[in-house]
Amino acid sequence: VSRILFCEDDPAIDKLIRMAMRNTTHEISMASTGREGLRLAKELRPTVVFSDVSMPDMDGFQLAGALRADPELAKIPIVFITASVQRADIEEAMRYGAARVIGKPFTVTDLRALVAEFA
């Protein structure tokens, strides 16, 4: 069983992810800000982190940086879920060490496939 941490600030998407993941065997955790995501990551040591980029107080890139800075968390792959899907945005995400980037709107099928890949 893998632990998967989602960081997503929009309630509608938050709910969509919960609903899409409600039948998996994995342990799903939801954070609504980057800071909360970092706290949960330290606490739970997730297998993979899925993070929104545009979030209050700490954005997805800062979260990725914080994870990379912590030797114990540095190895956790991070997947960005972002509405900014221009090439420059994708390239920036890659520079922050993203394992994958998934653009909004995404399909539930894609999300599940990605979770299966990392979990």
Binding site: D9, D10, P11, A12, I13, K15, L16, M19, A20, S32, T33, E36, M55, P56, D57, V79, A83, S84, V85, Q86, R87, I90, M94, A98, A99, R100, V101, I102, G103, K104, P105, F106, T107, V108, T109, D110, L111, A113, L114
Partner: protein, 591 residues
Amino acid sequence: VRVVGDAAGAQLADRPAVAAPAGALEQRGRPRVGFDWVVRSPVRMLVVIALIVGVPVNVFGQYLADNARDDFREVALAKVDGGSYAGANLVGERMSAVRYRTEAVAGRARVRSLMAARDFEALEQLLGEELLLYSNDVNNLFVLDIGGHFVASYPSQGDLHGVDFSRTSYYINATSAPWHPVVSPVEATQLGTSGTSVTVAVPIFDEFAVEPVGLLCASMDLGRARVWLAPITLLFDQVYVVDDKGRVIFGDERVDATPLRDLTSDPNIAAAMGGRPVRHETADVYSGQTRFLASSAVAGLGWNVFVGDSPAPTTQRLGELTDGLLLLRLILLGLLLVGGVVLSRTTLRQQALALANLTRLNRAKSDFVSVVSHEFRTPLTGIQGFSEMIRDEPLSQAEVKEFANDINDDAKRLSRMITEMLDLDRLESGRMVMNREQIDLGSLIQKTVDHQAPNAPKHHVVVEIEPGLPRVWADRDRITQVLTNLLSNAIKYSPDGGTVTVRARAERDVAHISVSDQGLGIPAGSLEEVFERYSRLHTTKQRTIQGTGLGLPIVREICKLHGGHAWVESTVGKGSTFHVTLPFDLKGVAR
């Protein structure tokens, strides 16, 4: 590393092609010779202007100058020509007058009878009386007998009596049969004091006017003849008379007074003697300087009157004219220079400005497209994801209903975003049509509050309207929009409930509406930011609150269009108060 998912891949591919117009604005390829190419460089501009305007102006200026020079020359020549003609007439008339007068004296019976009686004493007395009737032109009247002997004169010259004058040219000429009046050649004078003289000799006939009995001679001092020309000497630089032998016989005092100076070597004088009157610009025979010179023949005498005028005044005027033209040309060139540079610079500046504007617009459009696409993706994710699950998964009726509700919420959110976006665009561009009317704010506020109440089960909404609040001149729908946005914000951003207070009161010439909540509040640094598009604040608690990010910008724009203001006061954790003012009177505001 790869980008996951069709959607993401597709979105990568559909990057907005907004960069293309910017590229199109740039100068590309080889420069084309045209208006733009010319105005882009002040130097090119000047060259073109000089070619188009300067050359014709210069050519025309040259043409004018040449024309003026010709005209001046023509006028100067006409003047000396007229002068010489007048001079010839004056000389001819005076000479004729002397001849006719002398003929009249010679024809007198008393002269004949005194000659016959050889009473020369009486004859001299008679000559004296006659001389008085001459003008000053004649200074001596004398009589020769038929053999050419001097018999009488006045003034009397006794020592000459009996002297033989038969060898004089006038005696020889006048007595060649038949006897006739003659004018002697001009000769150095023995009489009088001036240089030259001429004698008019007229035969005296017997009472039958057949046989000559003597010769009456009038001797003229030509030194006095210069007075004849007085009417024209003042007008010209030179006036002189040349006889049939090419000698100067008299002239104004400015001419070399050497008596009978032979000028036959001068081509002008030779031409005039040859019957070809002079009328041209030539070297002066005296000074060698250039003169406008003209000659006219004196009828019957073979003399020529020459009139010369220095071209100096003409040249000076021509010079002034040419200088003036040159100055004009320089001024014109200067104007063209300045104009060219200014025009070129203005055009360049306008082009730069237009380019900057287009670039700014293009960037704004690009930003807008990216913001909008970003904002739309969030509700679309819900719609796409929930509908996908309804389609693909076995769900309970309750779940289907719930997901459908989520889809519906997101669709409404999307719809609201589009509506507000368009509203804001119309407000900002001034295309929003305002239907103003007298509005009772109190009842409008109450209505809006009643409408919003079902959305705020946890809130206590208080309405405080100042009694007697005047009506405002405003668009009902837009003011409703302002009140709805402020009220729904107050409710949304106080998720734990509390009191929401809506106040309206008169403040000098505006209605002041405020909406207060006891909610999350806004940090001091963001009080202006909240009125900007898509600037929704992200704080921990607010994250669950949905909004389009356009509500407050719309509020501010509507207030602005009504001549009012919108602002906010807030304390984080205690709540916010949004203020709106609307003028009662719209003086000075576009209706």
